[in-house]
Symmetry: D2
Subunit: 298 residues, 4 copies
């Protein structure tokens, strides 16, 4: 299948490599040109502009940092939209706002092209192994057509709605649940630690009983070990995602008091200079509020 | 081993049966006498008082509803303490306050007996199958001595501290994490539901990706299906447990903002007449705050 | 003094009338033309465009609904900026975002004109009586020059900063404090009411002791009497203002947990269909969460 | 009138002096005997026990630190209850729990005496000047009979209910509103301060516009000036009062999310070692969460 790929960052690069490895013809574009050299060496076609990456493609991925980055590659003579053929598909995999997904859907409908939202769960190593989870929303035929692409990058594909934006909402809501897990673990560890229980022992109880999910193991370990850098996902980006889910919920008139609480804790973390720590450092904020020093200096 | 067992309710009854089945000599006491007839038929020795259940026993379990019930069986000529031999062990498995565990430890030290806290995770069916998780705290020799008893009722025994009360704190903190999971799921489902996503599809995404723990499956299913009665664990008891963890945290000077939030939501549930629903009905409160009717009438 | 006035709504109209009454030459512009007829009859000069209202003026007020309305009158050949003479002053009295105030300051600096922020506290009747409170920020000479204008519309003028945006922040923070007062009163009345205390008696205790401020009397009375419509300031606008203060605080990395809580309560109010009630109906939400019916149907 | 007075602390001492000055015959008791020497010199009759203070009195005040102190003076041969004549009145002016007030009412009814709750608003200087506010609840004839006593200590007497406990609830709810005002001011000052606005200027805007109540002036000044010691009312006692209102609200099934938030902030303050600062230091917590140092070291 002829595929365009825009955005060769930590997630986009391994995803493009997986598509290439699965035998698709992949045309790649990245704002900073160097990023795709190894992909080109492996057979990818370099494109000088988003429009060039979209030209001739049946489907074009965007995997970019945020709303602004996606909005930047769309318009103009060099933009994705100018290159995309009638009936071709924009596969939007970035974590973007629900509002932007809704605007993109309209833009594509007016242009005669199709938006499919396909955000993913998983970190770069999962992307490299084709073990992402892909959450998709969009018109049925377009989803069916792109299924081989999802299977190249992911271990499982979920279809949640005929509306693309619903997939973005599900992704953001999932990120909220990760954040809620971190915050609750942070408070729990602060409490048992202050009472003299060994954090490792407590982690063993949790992950050995009811709290066996990857989200518990990953973040429980970071908090138990006070290991907040290097950041897998920094607090600053965490705040961005929590803001996106709050914005979507606000538009839908849905209060999310836990998300509000997490936002305030993240803000306090940033105010105290922890913006570059992993968002597991919500546990550091909870410990500080309990008057605990930790292994780290605060 | 000679064991006493006080409290033959939904949890205590199957635990006593497991001990009996493992070949221990079990003397049983229950405030309402009928409860243990089948156990006696199977070989248990009936005791007319807590003191009688404790007499001659190396270890006596209490598995009772709350602090008040435990405090009621301790004092007086008929009480547990009067019957317990010097050096014998009180195995406290009820979910009680940290403060009571601390008081009991002192009482036993003064009396020449020993307190071991051994609260459990798991529902009655897990108790019947010997699949509980037992969280223990107390003096090492006493813990070692009682290990066969823990193995009769549980699939795994965790030792968290030489202080009995620390095991109670770990248990309460675990319950807080369950409540936090429910509340976060409740908010998440309210959001995606209002946006038109099918709750079952959303549950599938969650439990198929990062949220695979029993706590996610159990409560996610109840919320996705609006199935809040019959209650496995009613809101009223949920509030009791959240209050216990807040009290322990307050004594330790540890703020738990998520627990505070959950307490307020549970209170609102009780105020609206939902006290007999399962505490998964936190999801009902979240839906109501989002202006959603649900399958149930509110 | 030659003054332009853009925006003749509930607040702008009486302010323009006060300026006229104080002997200033006032040129008025409103998007819907009819609004200023009585002012013109009283001597105001009608302007067909914002640019025309600004031309020849030493200072031009804007008193508009929100950021979007202010941004709409600025650009283009008909816009305020095109009409404003070098060195002339834009008096921004609307409740706008801190971010917009910062952008406007830059725009004016580039254009050779001057921004003064002069948001006000007070309702339309106070505007008509020249009893507003004017909170000003901007360059000292511009503030001094405009003082007669502030005195025409207000009973007192506060100068908080050389930075215009600081005055907007102070205004938004004041609105946050009003909202916090309403929410706390709403919770308090729900509590005493459920305990059988007469709301009027409770109001008398409050306003007769420590809670004697206008903000207590105004909102305490509305809550005590369950009088939420007609809305003096509807929940929907309240949410807008709380969002503005949260946005300013977020940019400054300042958590405002009370504002977050109020935002969630307002969202719940809107979700339940109360968006057109006065924001005193935060008390209605609190009562509902306490399981109280009120005089109103919910 | 023959009056007993139990508890000659910071509040009780000046209240007893006022009663004496108004011509009543006052018998005084204090646990630490020295406290009343000057009152005795001025004509008060010293009593060696609570019972002695109650004997022959038509009404006996208690003005003690907390529930425990009140419960300590009630029972036994030396206790208030033993000394109180049939039909005599216990005037309970301490800030105690609603639950204790309800228990005391029953105790007195059984004993043939009468409980009147008469908690007060005001600090020691107001007590000395007879400028307290007295909030009363109890049977009408008893209230009428005691009116001269209320007038001796207070500038105004409010009657809120025939139920004594309702007066205690109103008092606690008032304290909650004070705490909510402090917390909201703390957040507001943190925000404007971080944006570079002078705290004194901001205070002037607040107290010169809508926020003119004593509660704003008192706590706004302390926060603006970072003046948290010596404590007029320390954080530790503040936490006690917030807990009392939360307990009363919980019993009535009324969520008070603002009180929950304040409780968590006070706990964090205590955890950080600020328990002896005035509860205005909620502003210090808010500033710390915003990453602000203040004039004080944190």
């Amino acid at each position: 299948m002829k595929v365009g790929f825009i955005g060769l960052g930590h997630m986009g690069h391994p995803m493009a490599a997986r598509l290439l490895g699965a035998g698709h013809r992949v045309t790649v574009y990245n704002r900073s040109p160097g990023r795709g050299a190894d992909l080109v060496a492996a057979g990818a076609i370099p494109a000088p502009t988003p429009a060039a990456a979209a030209r001739d493609a049946e489907a074009v991925f965007t995997m970019l940092a945020d709303d602004a980055a996606v909005e930047a590659v769309m318009p103009g003579a060099d933009g994705l939209l100018a290159g995309l053929a009638a009936g071709a598909i924009h596969l939007s995999s970035s974590t973007i706002s629900v509002a932007l997904a809704e605007r993109l859907e309209t833009v594509h409908r007016d242009a005669g092209s199709v938006l499919v939202s396909a955000p993913v769960f998983g970190r770069p190593d999962a992307a490299a192994a084709g073990r992402l989870f892909v959450v998709t929303g969009g018109p049925g035929p377009a989803l069916a057509h792109c299924r081989p692409l999802f299977e190249a990058v992911g271990q499982h594909t979920f279809t949640v709605s005929g509306q693309p934006a619903a997939a973005n909402l599900v992704k953001l809501t999932g990120n909220f649940l990760i954040a809620a897990t971190i915050e609750s673990l942070g408070e729990a560890f602060a409490l048992v630690r202050k009472a003299g229980v060994d954090p490792g022992d407590f982690l063993e109880v949790l992950t050995g009983t009811l709290f066996t999910a990857p989200v518990h193991r990953t973040y429980g370990t970071l908090i138990a070990e006070d290991r907040f850098s290097p950041a897998g996902f920094p607090m600053g980006l965490g705040l961005k995602d929590v803001k996106l889910v709050l914005a979507a919920a606000e538009a839908a008139r849905v209060p999310l008091p836990m998300a509000s609480l997490i936002r305030d804790q993240l803000l306090s973390g940033l105010a105290r200079g922890h913006g570059d720590l992993d968002w597991a450092a919500l546990g550091l904020i909870a410990a500080g509020n309990a008057g605990l020093g930790t292994g780290r200096s605060e």
